[in-house]
């Protein structure tokens, strides 16, 4: 039965992720006073790329990059329970806790870095360098916030953390939430932290040498991974979800916030984004950690 459960989780994340990406493009268009594409546009793009023929080969390691990235995204999804009470849609979360999820979230970018490095495209390498630099900066506040949440809940199990919130953590520990939210905006690749695939600067960054099926795979994993990260944030800070309706509206509110945030701000330079993430959210997270440990639950 667990196979069926995992398949359902993957299918849900795939379709919801793509519809969220379509909404992202549509809502951003509305912010810019455009009509914008349909909400299925990203799905169309992905399928179209799947039907294209590869024009070039850089050897097997080049193609392994997107596959490792997709593996990282899908494994992350499997270890995050969608609901805190239900047996179904809990995936493999009984076999691994938050530490494993944080580790798996790093697997994809590192695998992709190897693949892009083999490709030799200078813009790809620049994108990867920017991505890893940003990764080190955004992890700092996020990990402090997550450690504080774990110590508050006295557990590293995601379902337990989600279920144990009488007042949701976003309100009970707002400083931790704000710090994690800055990191989350960076994790979702939104402005002002969108230095990795920065259009005009490094073209599409790590993806610039990929075409056809592998670009399609990259888009799919991005949709799945985004949904996994949204579910993780909902579980840690917004009190988790008890059913699909609750999960969808909570993830959507969070996603809408990220879109709106990204639509307003311009892009940082890479050093600026690192400086900002290390200074502002980290300090907020440390203060939040002190509050949480000193005054407790």
């Amino acid at each position: 039965m667990i196979i069926l459960d995992l398949a359902l989780m993957l299918i849900t994340a795939y379709f919801v992720g793509f519809i969220y990406y379509g909404l992202y493009r549509n809502i951003t268009a509305r912010f810019q006073r455009r009509i914008g594409p349909t909400i299925f546009q990203s799905f169309y793009d992905s399928i179209k790329f799947f039907g294209k023929k590869e024009a070039i080969s850089h050897g097997w390691m080049f193609y392994l990059g997107p596959i490792i990235m997709a593996t990282g995204a899908i494994m992350t999804l499997f270890f995050i329970p969608f609901f805190y009470q239900s047996e179904s849609f809990s995936g493999l979360s009984g076999y691994g806790n938050l530490f494993l999820v944080l580790y798996l979230m790093l697997l994809g970018p590192l695998g992709n870095a190897m693949g892009v490095g083999v490709g030799g495209n200078p813009f790809g390498v620049m994108g990867v360098t920017r991505g890893l630099t940003r990764l080190f900066a955004l992890e700092l506040p996020f990990y402090i916030a997550v450690v504080a949440i774990m110590s508050i809940s006295q557990s590293a199990d995601i379902a337990t953390i989600a279920g144990s919130q009488t007042t949701i953590n976003a309100f009970a520990h707002p400083l931790l939430f704000i710090a994690a939210l800055f990191s989350f905006v960076a994790m979702m690749g939104q402005s002002p932290f969108d230095v990795v695939g920065a259009p005009v600067e490094v073209y599409s960054g790590p993806a610039s040498e990929f075409s056809g099926k592998f670009l399609s795979l990259l888009m799919s994993q991005s949709a799945i991974f985004s949904f996994a990260k949204l579910v993780l944030m909902v579980n840690l800070f917004l009190g988790g979800a008890d059913g699909f309706f609750e999960l969808l509206w909570k993830t959507f509110v969070l996603f809408l916030f990220v879109i709106a945030f990204g639509a307003i701000y311009g892009r940082f330079k890479t050093p600026q984004s690192v400086d900002f993430l290390i200074k502002v959210p980290t300090v907020i997270a440390i203060v939040g950690l002190i509050f949480a440990t000193a005054w407790g639950n």
Binding site: I47, E54, S211
Partner: protein, 205 residues
């Protein structure tokens, strides 16, 4: 026979005799997706490039038709040859076109791509783009307004959806013809021969 008027006529008219119906239901489905998702290479080759920013930004908003810019040739479906084409630019266009993944399309803007336009007797521009690369759709005008470009895109989408376009196939089938024309104006400075491995055999990375 790779040259001469008869060959040229044969290449130009090969579309007319080609199979226009879909080969299978998978082709039908893929064409349905292809016409709804068109990535345009953001590469301005001539003066017509000035009409592309308004086409893609808020005023004319090409994204509502599924048309958006692509950052690199690898991800692009359409390359717009926007106006007159000097020999130097042609070399880049050929190289860029050959880096794109199949299926790929060419949209040519303005009268300069049809017959040279006001550059008819210029010493360093080509006259008919069709001699060097397979053009899928011409948009007339000097310069065509964004409305015309969108019309051109919609016509292209319709042809893609009907499964009528196979210009990349035409380019591969008649490569000797196109290559000869390219070499006639560019000499030996033309891009390496059209195959997947030029990148690897071109002096390495």
């Amino acid at each position: 026979m790779d040259e001469g008027f008869l060959k040229e006529q044969q290449v130009m008219e090969s579309d007319l005799n080609s199979e226009t119906s879909h080969k299978s239901s998978v082709d039908f489905l893929m064409d349905w997706f292809r016409r709804r998702s068109i990535f345009v290479l953001a590469y301005g080759t001539g003066c017509g490039a000035i009409e592309m920013p308004p086409t893609f930004t808020s005023r004319y908003d090409a994204e509502r038709l599924g048309i958006r810019g692509a950052a690199t040739p690898r991800q692009a479906d359409v390359i717009i040859v926007s106006g007159y084409c000097s020999y130097k630019t042609l070399r880049r266009i050929i190289r860029t076109y050959e880096q794109m993944a199949n299926p790929k399309y060419i949209l040519a803007l303005g009268s300069c791509t049809v017959n040279g336009g006001m550059y008819w007797d210029s010493y360093n521009t080509i006259k008919r783009l069709e001699d060097y690369l397979p053009v899928d759709m011409y948009v007339n005008g000097c310069m065509p307004r964004p409305e015309s470009i969108l019309e051109g895109f919609m016509a292209l989408q319709k042809e893609i959806g009907d499964g009528k376009i196979s210009s990349w196939q035409k380019y591969e089938d008649n490569y000797a013809f196109y290559r000869k024309n390219q070499e006639a104006v560019l000499g030996q400075t033309v891009a390496p021969a059209y195959d997947a491995d030029w990148y690897l055999y071109d002096g390495g990375l």
